[in-house]
């Protein structure tokens, strides 16, 4: 191994790591606010990438049906409240977002030839399709059991993940897709050949992190989420609805997942079940951060990316083993260093 190979591997590790950073941040965010260990996070990545690929190939994306079905499920669950509460603002809001909005998406998907719409148009439409899946998922699966123990939430999260992978196979088929790169140019820096898409991945990841930091420190919604993460009951007493916090969190998680999927899909082939493994690596990183600390999770994600890249050079057959074994010393170290206080169940 010489210096140039080490450089190329580092570059590869950092680009992969950047995606794991985003996923690790989403996992930490969801866990701190809602206590859900959010296994289906990876599905947003795969679904966004594959939806974009479907649009590029001029095929009707199956995720439209998913949004329609999700919207109908939410309406069904809200049906009683819709009849009982004589609050027109609430009615318009629920029906608008869960019935009218999916129908508009469906009409757009059916009428427009997305091959002609340009890459940015397709990306915007993909985000419009994937992001609402987050809040819908929270409303349908997690809101009814929001105060259940962490283990119950985890089991439901696993069930949702398994169901979504099955739906993914049905919607997109078994074979993988790649999407067009945003920037089809290469830069030569010494021995390194940096593809434009890698620049995009790093830039967009950084931008998203800055944006999230601003959101949490400056906006009222961001502060509400932080308050919920610090103390759920306290936040509730201050008038922060835990349901709103949950929906908002899963919307952010879906958005982060969708952006990650759109960023990586030109670099690698995405399959209906790719999301799980990417999500799992983000999870390893989040564990390094103790599922609570953002900077540690981000550093962990970069470590996972680099470890993966270097172990694929030295011992490719054991790459996954090496990456996932990392979790054992980390847990050991954390159990020695931190005094874990069991959280009181409500």
């Amino acid at each position: 191994m010489d210096f140039s190979i080490a450089l190329i591997l580092t570059q590869d590790g950092i680009v992969n790591g950047a995606v794991y950073v985003l996923l690790a941040l989403a996992l930490v965010l969801v866990f701190t606010v809602t206590r859900i260990i959010f296994i289906p996070q990876g599905e947003f990545v795969a679904f966004a990438a594959l939806t974009l690929a479907m649009l590029e190939n001029g095929r009707f994306p199956g995720t439209v049906w998913l949004v329609l079905a999700g919207g109908l499920a939410v309406c069904a669950m809200e049906a009683r409240a819709l009849v009982a509460r004589h609050d027109w603002h609430y009615r318009v809001q629920v029906l608008g977002w869960n019935l009218a909005y999916p129908l508009v998406l469906w009409a757009l998907a059916a009428t427009i030839d997305w091959r002609e719409a340009g890459q940015w148009g397709r990306i915007a439409f993909t985000l419009a399709l994937i992001v609402p899946l987050g809040p819908m998922m929270f409303r349908v699966f997690f809101q009814p059991i929001a105060s259940a123990p962490v283990l119950v939430l985890l089991i439901v999260a696993v069930a949702v993940h398994v169901a979504l992978v099955g739906l993914g196979l049905w919607m997109f088929g078994a074979e993988g897709y790649r999407t067009l790169p945003l920037w089809d140019e290469n830069f030569l820096v010494g021995p390194l050949r940096i593809p434009g898409q890698a620049v995009w991945v790093l830039g967009a990841s950084l931008a998203l992190i800055v944006l999230l930091a601003q959101f949490f420190s400056r906006t009222i919604y961001g502060k509400a989420l932080r308050a919920t993460a610090v103390n759920r009951n306290g936040a509730r007493l201050m008038g922060i609805s835990p349901n709103l916090a949950g929906r908002l969190t899963l919307m952010l998680a879906a958005a982060i997942g969708a952006v990650s999927g759109i960023l990586v899909s030109p670099i690698t082939t995405i399959y209906y079940d790719t999301g799980f493994l990417i999500g799992l690596k983000g999870f390893v990183a989040a564990i390094i951060g103790g599922l609570a600390a953002y900077p540690a999770a981000a550093a962990g994600a970069l470590l996972v990316g680099l470890l993966e890249s270097f172990s694929s050079f030295w011992a490719s057959a054991y790459k996954e083993v090496i990456v996932f074994t990392l979790i054992i010393p980390v847990l050991f170290w954390r159990s020695l260093r931190t005094h874990h206080v069991e959280e009181e169940e409500e």
């Binding site: 190979i5 190329i8 591997l9 078994a174 074979e175 082939t269 790719t274 993966e308 490719s316 057959a317």
Partner: protein
């Protein structure tokens, strides 16, 4: 009067029963969902195209999906045997499933034709595997085709990158044996995962070892990643893929980076391009056109043709078995097994099948061709 009525009723019931029994029942389990779905879906499509009548007998196909899962495949097989009382079991798509089904069919003495490629499904032919046949070419035949082509084109050193699972490992075994026999040298051996997002590390190591040719042992679209990375990093030697990539999705994902790649394949994929004298041409073209007319241009894969050929074997063996016993009886199932084993020179889409008590695959060198990817198409190289 009452008695007469009863006799008539009894006769009618008996007649109805024999009529119901007179048709040949075939239980088919395929992996139409789960990781092996890209194999199982064309197989399921092909079952729908199989003839509904052979040798004057109605054939009833009962198709179940085993979701690429071994336990489900075994349960499906048990259901075929105990509930549906089938005369023949077909499936499953992948080797682990087929291996697990052997015990079940051998115990019930029902013949089985597998669509799984693994050699262990049929060899060695022992007390249990007596009942099992298969239609896909063995990996060994395909490996030999690759190594022959390498040796003939001046390749001296080779690199290998394969899936880090049983598929990659079994290819590595048969490939390293085959190149040793031809005097080639393996200089680098790497592994990657089906869902990996990057193989830069492995590819850098391969390029560092400077092999004349690289074999990528993957299947379907995941086999495109090493090839794209090799091209991206400027590898200029020959690249070989296995017959596991022969589907239109692989060409779509790999695009320009796959031009000039060599691979072995079943002749059915290029059936219309075969020279007229080729023994697999007639059956191959028949299947090719039928499948394309139903599922669209460029949709033919070899996976579906394994089912088609299982149908050919059944059609060829049926007259001999029917002469000995009635469908639905244990005697018929035993006779059907013997009849399949007696088949000689049956032309089918994948080649010519000649079974024997020691060979339950029965294919020879006529069952494989070498292809080259040109202009995003499979091209037959004579």
């Amino acid at each position: 009067m009452e008695r007469k009525k009863r006799i008539i009723l009894g006769l009618a019931l008996a007649l109805g029963w024999t009529l119901a029994q007179a048709q040949v029942k075939v239980g088919v389990t395929v992996s139409a969902t789960g990781p092996a779905a890209s194999l199982g879906i064309p197989e399921k499509n092909t079952v729908e195209m199989l003839p509904k009548e052979m040798a004057g007998q109605k054939i009833e196909y009962i198709v179940l999906d085993d979701a690429s899962d071994t336990t489900t495949a075994v349960n499906n097989t048990r259901k075929f045997i105990t509930e549906d009382k089938v005369d023949l079991v077909m499936g499953s798509s992948i080797t682990p499933n087929a291996l697990a089904m052997i015990d079940v069919v051998a115990e019930a003495k029902v013949p089985m034709i597998s669509f799984a490629a693994g050699d262990r499904v049929i060899s060695p032919v022992d007390e249990k595997r007596r009942w099992v046949f298969k239609t896909p070419q063995s990996d060994k035949m395909m490996t030999e085709a690759i190594v022959e082509h390498m040796a003939a084109n001046g390749v001296k050193t080779v690199g290998f990158i394969g899936f880090s699972d049983a598929y990659g490992e079994s290819w590595y075994q048969s490939f390293s044996e085959a190149i040793a026999a031809k005097g080639l040298q393996m200089v680098v051996n790497e592994r990657y995962n089906r869902t990996d997002t990057s193989v830069t590390g492995q590819v850098l190591k391969i390029i560092g070892a400077k092999p004349d040719a690289v074999l990528i042992a993957g299947s379907g679209t995941p086999a495109a990643l090493p090839q794209k990375t090799l091209k991206e990093r400027g590898y200029s030697g020959k690249i070989y893929q296995t017959h596991g990539v022969v589907n239109p999705d692989f060409l779509r994902v790999c695009g320009r980076d796959c031009e000039g790649t060599f691979l072995p394949s079943s002749p059915v994929v290029v059936a219309p391009q075969l020279p007229d004298g080729h023994p697999a041409k007639a059956a191959g073209v028949e299947y090719f056109q039928l499948y394309e007319s139903k599922y669209g241009k460029g949709s033919v894969t070899q996976f579906g043709s394994y089912v088609w050929d299982a149908g050919k074997l059944l059609a060829a063996a049926l007259p001999e078995a029917l002469a000995k016993a009635k469908p639905g009886t244990p005697e018929f199932r035993a006779a059907l097994r013997d009849a399949i084993e007696h088949l000689k020179e049956v032309p089918a889409a994948n080649g010519v099948y000649s079974m024997s008590p020691t060979d339950h695959l029965g294919l020879d060198h006529r069952a494989r061709v070498m292809l080259r990817i040109e202009g995003g198409q499979w091209k037959y190289i004579p």
